[in-house]
Symmetry: C2
Subunit: 339 residues, 2 copies
């Protein structure tokens, strides 16, 4: 059987499904030519997944047993109830001759694709994990496909800080690309005080925005964002109130040519559309975004705006986000305060 860059060749289900949708993956350590094997040192379980396991089992030993059972039976760490996974940190152990990932043996990497599609074998019974936190020390191995993305961890930053940046690195990369399609645009970032929001503000300015607006939900968050100088204007508004959001952005130098939505609460579509100028672009990074609310909202408002589904993958996204953190004391301060 030939390998497929999506990992299709390791799906053991009867039907042809992608690895993420599969019940069970083939975890054999031998590599297909375009694969990479990583020696795992730690799993970072997705927050929703860990919460479900913790609530279901309570006791740490039982949580550990449940994770071991999932990984053994599925060949990947995908919580069957939440559907979510997490990511891992490890060291490159072997590289197939046709791997396009550009990694070298010995590179210390974090995977930027989900554990839900990554073949995984745990070899130490998770003996060093008490089952009480999302951070899982682990010895074992994982397989990366031709299209799996892994980023080399930099030497000059603490691992936790790098991982926090990589977790949201798609947002600044796509913001840079969209802002670059306009001539000196006004950019509003809804949720500008958060991790993806602060990086997006930094990316917008670096990409040529002439005016940046950070919208935050509380005065306390505004007080944290203002001293970073990441935004030319910081305003407080409830992003779920479309009129309030429009007024806040308009009053702060808007409407925006580019609006970036980084807040994980439902109901922000209408306000984001109204805060955006005709011919502008809204980039939705929030997983709470409702596709019909955005599509029907723009139509109902006769708003000629381009609306993007925030794709978490842009080539070079991890390196770019890390460079923003290194160059911006404001971004770094916000991230370190959240670690």
């Amino acid at each position: 059987m030939r390998s497929d860059p999506t990992g299709l060749h390791r799906v053991l289900d009867g039907a042809a499904v992608l690895p993420q949708a599969a019940d069970r993956l083939d975890t054999r350590p031998d590599l297909w030519p375009d694969e990479v094997r990583v020696r795992v040192e730690r799993l970072n379980l997705d927050a929703a997944s860990f919460r479900q396991l913790h609530e279901a089992y309570g006791d740490g030993d039982k949580v550990r047993a449940a994770v071991l059972d999932i990984v053994e039976s599925r060949g990947k760490m995908q919580n069957p109830l939440t559907g979510s996974g997490g990511m891992l940190v490890g060291t490159v152990e072997e590289i197939g001759p046709a791997s396009p990932l550009g990694l070298r043996v010995g590179d210390r990497v974090a995977t930027l694709v989900s554990l839900t599609l990554t073949p995984l074998v745990i070899e130490d019974g998770l003996a060093r994990w008490d089952g009480g936190s999302e951070q899982v020390p682990c010895d074992g191995y994982a397989i990366l496909f031709g299209r799996s993305i892994a980023a080399v961890l930099p030497n000059d930053l603490p691992t936790q800080l790098s991982l926090a940046v990589m977790d949201v690195c798609g947002a600044p990369a796509l913001t840079r690309r969209v802002v670059g399609q306009y001539d000196a645009p006004v950019v509003a970032v809804i949720g500008g005080g958060g991790k993806s929001g602060s990086l997006s503000l930094a990316a917008a300015r670096a990409a040529g925005a002439r005016h940046t607006i950070g919208v935050v939900p509380t005065e306390a968050e505004a007080a944290r964002l203002r001293p970073t100088a990441l935004a030319d204007e910081v305003v407080v508004a409830d992003a779920r109130d479309p009129i309030a959001l429009r007024e806040a952005v308009t009053g702060a130098g808007g409407p925006a040519d580019v609006t970036v939505v980084c807040v994980d609460v439902p109901g922000c579509e209408g306000g984001a559309i109204l805060a955006t100028a005709e011919g502008g672009t809204v980039v939705f990074f929030s997983m709470a975004t409702s596709f019909p609310a955005a599509a029907l909202g723009a139509e109902g408002l006769a708003a000629d705006v381009t609306m993007l589904i925030g794709n978490g993958y842009v080539p070079g996204h991890a390196e770019y986000a890390l460079s923003l953190l290194r160059e911006s004391a404001g971004v770094r301060a916000l991230f370190e305060a959240r670690l």
Copy 2:
């Protein structure tokens, strides 16, 4: 109180919500300066709304009473259970001096914004409607706001045909715009045999596509689409099977630089992403699109594709779609077969 182009000034709820989200709208016939009043001749109820009413009440007289009750109590036709509305046909009766819509008194128009946000008064008790169909003959009036969109019905086409085109006119307009951003791209339309799909195929070719691919679910539909020559290649594939869709599009001259998704079934995100070339664009017009499935799917596949939420409004969309129908015997034949 000053008027707002969104119609905010006619919301009677206590909280500041947009008209679509409001419980009740002000239906006074006097116009704010940017408004237009339309004499209504027919309502087209949204299919989901009519189905719910029909199943709940069965009897036509009771369905009629329910519609009258909704419109009287809410000031708009928005089914409280489905949340949906429909559209209307009527004649422009009065135009405020500041209306930006470009209409003239006497124009026969269809509204392209939903009834869910349109102030409406029914004056004939729906006496000419038996409650048995989505088509509701009606005398009354409706109000258009500064940002409400209405299209003048052409004289050279049957009303039902024009309405069917206008119902999906956002898809070809946005397809034209996206195709025009590429140099002679390959364009795949998933659901190319349907209304929005066939118009999108015609728009793609008119906008400079060098090769068009129509994907349909059955051989019967392929047999209807092939003779229209709207697509250079017509292929049969289940759009919910990502690998099958990728293989079908690749085998028909793909991958596509632009993929347009026009099928209203869930689960097409992965296949659409895989059928699209790096640097390409996927336009999702299906209301069954899952935002997280698209965002996480592209990230999991490390696919550098731009993903657009299909905004149903693009300036000039109705006129453009009608021109495609007039110029393309193939589009017209497909539409007439579906009336």
